[in-house]
Symmetry: C2
Subunit: 295 residues, 2 copies
Amino acid sequence: MTALGPLPSGFEAALARARSAVEAELCRALAAEPGPVAEAMLYACEGGKGLRGFLVLEGARLHGLSEAQAIPAAAAIEALHAYSLIHDDLPCMDDDDLRRGRPTVHRAWDEATAVLAGDALQSLAFELVCQAGGSPEARLTLTLTLARAAGVAGMVGGQALDIAAETAVEPLTLEQITALQARKTGALITWSAAAGARLAGADPAPLVRYGDALGLAFQIADDLLDVEGSAEEVGKAVAKDAARGKATFVSLLGLAGAKARAQALVENACAALDVYGAEASTLREAARFVTARRK
Amino acid sequence: MTALGPLPSGFEAALARARSAVEAELCRALAAEPGPVAEAMLYACEGGKGLRGFLVLEGARLHGLSEAQAIPAAAAIEALHAYSLIHDDLPCMDDDDLRRGRPTVHRAWDEATAVLAGDALQSLAFELVCQAGGSPEARLTLTLTLARAAGVAGMVGGQALDIAAETAVEPLTLEQITALQARKTGALITWSAAAGARLAGADPAPLVRYGDALGLAFQIADDLLDVEGSAEEVGKAVAKDAARGKATFVSLLGLAGAKARAQALVENACAALDVYGAEASTLREAARFVTARRK
């Protein structure tokens, strides 16, 4: 008899459930469309952790919305995230061959298909988000905040700063890298966390604070994985940052300092949830998970 | 004393006015954002005809909306169009060096900036469109229809078919090329024409019929310019289709046949406007203009 592994916690079960609900929604949205671009879109949405979609569903649950009302927004953020990964991996960007343990889209198909699949996933994200449940005003706010989080003042702006940093003479300071990451990865994570409150027409401030802290902790964990993880575990190339001489939270704070900073952020994230009491325990677990993850 | 050239017609004056109002809105939207990506975004929005933005404003005027209510939607469609041109021109797509008489974005900057500027222009389009005037329900419908027209079932799907046609053994039939163009260029033109009716909560059907006919006439005129125009006049490379052995309306219908088909479509477009009476004369002029244009 083999020993049983640890049973899935509330968080892991909720994450798996969210991931499968979101994948079903994306399959449904793309089912009618034949051809390589739609296939590449679906391929790019598979195999991720599904953390952003989970955050949307969990935030919505905290505000009394049904899963059916929140699923379009959860699928939207996973589609948007998948688009950003496809374009990030392009030869003219990070030039990566491996993503989520599989060939990147431009390796599995070609560059033109990768550009188009990313473009169409962004459109799909907006097609989905404006179909979430909630009042029309709330749905418009959700759509507007997603567009801002994705655009040049948010994620794309962060990516542009990241590219500029690679050719800059001086490495980034801690303040600069924090600001960069708040846009590059933080904006969409914060949007995900706060989406349920926005859809319900409630004050998004506590979940915005939670998302801001979580997003930064997530990025520090990513930098730690780049140093400590193996490509097999992580599912993408590692040790790339040091090879490029790129400033990261680890290069600026050291391994122990980066771990301590991530831990402090997890505590901030959990504290922001106080207003929700015990109802938010799965989101607290999620915050602990992002710094403990191995991929 | 030199002879005066022809005075601007109602249409040309309205087009110029729409173009400058849309450019002002896009400048305003991007003014706060420093850096090369925001500069490239604005650069890509400059120098076009502004036909799509004009169609939005004119359709809105027909439905009693103010220019202020419609401008965000007009700016949105021009931002979306500019994104599609940037990505279309990339080396892995059409690999063009010239657009609107100037270097393409990836030539003036680099490929990474071109990918990001296109991506952020798509986000900006959705940021703008959901801020148009009108009821929340109408604004959501406008946003949803834009996302569908832009995505894999619309423009991007048409681009994918176009790429597939280049390596296909058999050239496209007239029916296939009509279906392809209805998605690649038609979907956004039809959206533009019908946007004002949708914002006003009115029946968009007449303007959809107008837009469908106009979009196809526009594409036939484009094919004619590729054969008959000079690069200097058109502002981009010409005679590319024949060089690639690509089926076009001209290769399938002949020069005279293509011109006759465009003319018939202009008449269909004008007939669709009958319900609007004399109020729609500028839109009728626009339909005649797209087939008479030299760029």
